[in-house]
Subunit: 336 residues, 2 copies
């Protein structure tokens, strides 16, 4: 008798478990857009690929990728060339393709060399999107990155506000790198157009070296004692420029607008040594890259990625925007 | 005895139901990116706003908006000015703001007039994104639409392929409307640059009227008997151009590349009277608009939409791409 009762209990229990699960997941089984279908399957793995893979800059891209992965219930992997080495990035990408992941988001070390390997992935049925650095010749489905001209223009507007719309300013940049040229041009043209009482008196090259940026700023302040601001278009020079102003006791007079959110830059914004920095939409790059890859892998778009001919199943070019880091919001930008 | 056993069964069953539900939904309660948190709440309502709200063009935008709503478990509403009337669209938008929806996706009837009302919504804490037609002066978070220059360039490449890279072609467009000017320029410049044996012999204005497009094509064929192709940049003229070729028995000779996916255009592609059409990424506009609004409403982005100063919580400008409709894939483009 007791055994039969136990059996009853187990059977009824099992039925209830089944009924609840069925109720929760089965309601819209034919509809691909029911949210239960926006969940990945066991072993569904997406890979983010970078170069100089250890630098701070990628942390927030990866955080976006991770946040999207949790949302969609899939797993991810972070890979990359450890050095600034095209050959190494191609090799890493080839190893990844061999494992047939569900999708790949890659930042291309240079615009031309990666296209062939990216196309190999697409031919093998693996969706690929590019983020941060594009490879325009490839058949990747999308590019998500910063509009560098607009970023420079935003820096000019911030600088204009900081210096009260008048005075001499300078730019420290990397010569002959396209994204930095665009930032410089966006800055310069916005100053010329919108701030008649401001002049860009110098555009210098710090070669991506904080010490060079420091020396350059020191000489600029000697040549132009009333210099009111410096816009540094690359990630490490802002701290150098700010350090020069500090050593000369000119922090109050010289407004430094930096780029990106390295810890050193954020610390100096906190202490008032750097006035502002231009943060790129790195979290957006990672988050929406994975969303696109997921939708491509599961064929959830209209038109379908499998349609014949020229089709754009996901947006093809995405300006992820910029944010301006200031003493008021700097705490939000430390890596978590 | 029997009653006690029944009680046991019920209690154990209830516990199992509770345990299963807890297991399925409670695992990551603090984490906003767990997928259970990407589900809307009861009464969470998003509104799509257009103008000329009855035309075919918006159907696919709305389908994308609906598909995203199902994914996210929220409700939506479709509103708009029925006529091409700025005042009417502003009134509709004001009525919507008064109801405090969770977010608004709007296609602006003209770039300037809507900005004030859009900003009013943003000030009231209602996220707004723009799709298809931008209002650049406003504080909307994003614009999702077609890169018209690129669309024209894609039409040129398709035309080049259709006519075998040589011969005379013409453009029928709308004069002095910016998006149509850009399509025409993208077409013309791509032909000039990439197809030395092709010439654009005329650029005409059909005023958005299929009959005018028909008459224009007829005269073009009289003036240039060896005309090999016509690219029509607006939605209704393609059918007119194709009808002229048909009446003159010149369908085999004259390749018409149309724009958008009106039923008449699709029918003619099916029967071989129009060679191809440029479809805009309308589903993408609707789908990703709602995704952005949802992420803004639930504060799921980094940086937060509530952060102080200039921030881009979602991508600021999104080129939703184009697809080329041909006899091979035309069936996918009929409204479902």
């Amino acid at each position: 008798m007791k055994k039969i009762i136990l059996l009853y209990v187990l059977l009824i229990g099992a039925f209830l478990v089944y009924a609840v699960q069925h109720y929760q997941t089965g309601a819209n089984e034919e509809d691909p857009f029911h949210s239960e279908r926006l969940r990945g399957e066991l072993g569904e793995n997406y890979v983010m690929v970078t170069f100089l893979s250890g630098i701070e800059y990628w942390k927030s891209c990866l955080k976006g990728f991770e946040d999207a992965a949790e949302t969609l219930n899939v797993s991810i992997e972070y890979r990359g060339a450890t050095r600034y080495d095209t050959r190494e990035q191609i090799t890493v990408l080839e190893q990844i393709i061999a494992k047939k992941p569900a999708g790949i988001a890659i930042s291309a070390i240079d615009p031309a060399s990666l296209a062939g390997t990216i196309d190999k992935a697409v031919d093998a049925g693996i969706p690929v999107v590019l983020f941060d650095s594009d490879a325009p010749g490839s058949r990747a489905y999308s590019f998500l990155g910063t509009d560098n001209y607009e970023a420079g223009a935003a820096a000019a507007r911030k600088m204009g506000q900081l210096v009260g719309g008048k005075g001499k300013v300078a730019v420290i940049t990397l010569y002959s790198q396209q994204n930095h040229e665009e930032r410089t041009r966006g800055f310069q043209e916005t100053i010329d157009r919108a701030y008649p009482d401001m002049q860009v008196v110098a555009v210098e090259d710090d070669k991506g070296d904080a010490m060079v940026a420091k020396d350059l700023t020191r000489s600029l302040l000697e040549k132009e004692p009333d210099l009111a601001g410096v816009f540094v278009t690359e990630a490490v020079g802002g701290a150098g420029a700010a350090e020069a102003a500090k050593e000369l006791g000119r922090t109050e007079q010289l407004h430094v607008v930096a780029f990106d959110t390295n810890k050193d830059t954020l610390d100096r914004i906190k202490e008032g040594n750097i006035s502002a920095s231009i943060a790129q939409g790195t979290w957006n790059m990672g988050y929406w890259s994975l969303q696109y890859l997921f939708h491509l892998h599961h064929d959830l778009t209209i038109p379908s990625p499998a349609a014949s001919g020229v089709v754009s199943p996901v947006p093809v070019e995405v300006d992820t925007g910029i944010s301006i880091v200031t003493p008021e919001n700097v705490d939000d930008y430390y890596a978590k």
